[in-house]
């Protein structure tokens, strides 16, 4: 068998420290938001307010992961919207099933 030349023919560009710094900054933000959630879980009373805050923080984290890590913000606008717009349907699912759940609760107890 012929030994393949595994030496790269591609040109390697040097590290762009600004980009790498931005990645670590995003990581720091994600970590800070998670720590904030932890502190809230132990210091705040359970209730609607806490749950809404949790969900808002989670969506905020999701935004960072999608925009910074998955680079969705850098894609062409039609691609961006074809991923984001269908998620509107989930809003309805959430409203419908939350109502369903509370109604079952009222019937059972």
């Amino acid at each position: 068998m012929e030994i393949q030349d595994t030496k790269s023919t591609l040109e390697v560009t040097p590290r762009n420290n600004d980009k790498i710094k931005k990645i670590w900054k995003t990581a720091g933000i994600l970590l800070a938001l998670t720590v904030a959630e932890f502190i809230m879980a132990f210091t705040m009373d359970r209730g609607i307010l806490l749950y809404v805050l949790f969900i808002l923080l989670t969506v905020w984290k999701a935004k960072y992961i999608m925009m910074e890590f998955m680079h969705l913000g850098d894609e062409a606008k039609p691609l961006f919207y074809s991923i984001i717009v269908p998620l509107i349907f989930l809003v309805w699912l959430l409203i419908a099933l939350a109502k369903e759940g509370t109604d079952i609760f009222l019937m059972r107890w």
Binding site: T6, T9, V12, N16, I20, L30, L79, L90, E100
Partner: protein
């Protein structure tokens, strides 16, 4: 858009409807990965929203935390269920272990994005290094989840006394330890069912992700992507891996915090 069209003998002036355009400016593989992830978002969202609906159909545990006992009459408080840490038997450490798991998965997402960044620069050594770290993160997360499951299934020392209908369709009252799909010591049967189903489905995704990471790691290391001329595969697998992290962020909030 069509200025760099590669089709032979096609005029670049043929306009938007003439074909050969790339309105989304992304390769086929990347587009299909995005649309697969969109469909997977719907699957996970359906699971998690169903979890929320079933959860609000049960009363929540309202009493003080130190007198909590598991019962199938009300939904348990997660920080009183998930409070064990490996090697620290009997120590009440609410949410500590799941916090470590979250940290591991977020870290492996960071190393993945560093691998993608190295791929853009055609830097094979950096790609290989960061892919290896990402893979290690994924495997560690899976190991943690295996422990978490095994603890959840075997249960606490004390267990809980529950009245329930067993698999032989008889009503029994007995001390229950751990969890299965019929009964569990923490809360209503649906609690453990949803836990197994949703974290299991997520863990399955992580497992597939680790396999993909390994393939990409291997191919990068032996120079397949150098010969191919680009490192786009790292980017596509990166999208999948970040998605796994994204889902975990929601699982974490809904299962362990709320």
């Amino acid at each position: 858009m069509s200025a760099h069209s590669t089709a032979i003998g096609v005029s670049s002036k043929r306009g938007v409807w003439g074909g050969g355009n790339e309105p989304l400016k992304a390769s086929y593989g990347k587009l299909m990965m995005w649309f697969f992830l969109l469909s997977d978002i719907f699957t996970f969202a359906a699971f998690l929203i169903s979890y929320l609906a079933i959860r609000v159909s049960y009363p929540a545990y309202a009493g003080p935390a130190d007198t909590f006992v598991g019962s199938n009459e009300y939904w348990p408080v997660p920080e009183l269920v998930f409070e064990a840490v490996p090697f620290l038997h009997g120590i009440h450490a609410p949410l500590v272990f799941v916090g470590i798991m979250t940290f591991i998965l977020i870290s492996s997402s960071v190393t993945m994005v560093l691998a993608v960044e190295a791929g853009h620069r055609n830097d094979r050594n950096d790609v290989v290094k960061w892919m290896l770290w990402t893979m290690l993160g994924g495997i560690t997360f899976l190991a943690c989840q295996a422990w978490e499951w095994s603890h959840f299934i075997h249960g606490t020392d004390a267990g809980s006394v529950l009245t329930y209908i067993n698999s032989l369709n008889r009503e029994v009252t007995e001390t229950v330890f751990g969890a299965n799909l019929v009964v569990n010591e923490y809360g209503p049967a649906a609690f453990a069912q949803l836990f197994f189903f949703i974290t299991g489905f997520h863990g399955f995704h992580v497992t597939i992700g680790v396999v993909l990471l390994f393939l990409a790691f291997y191919q990068a290391a032996v120079g397949v992507y150098d010969r191919r001329g680009h490192y786009e595969m790292i980017e596509k697998i990166g999208l999948y891996w970040h998605f796994v992290d994204l889902v975990w962020v929601f699982v974490f909030t809904l299962f362990y915090l709320i």
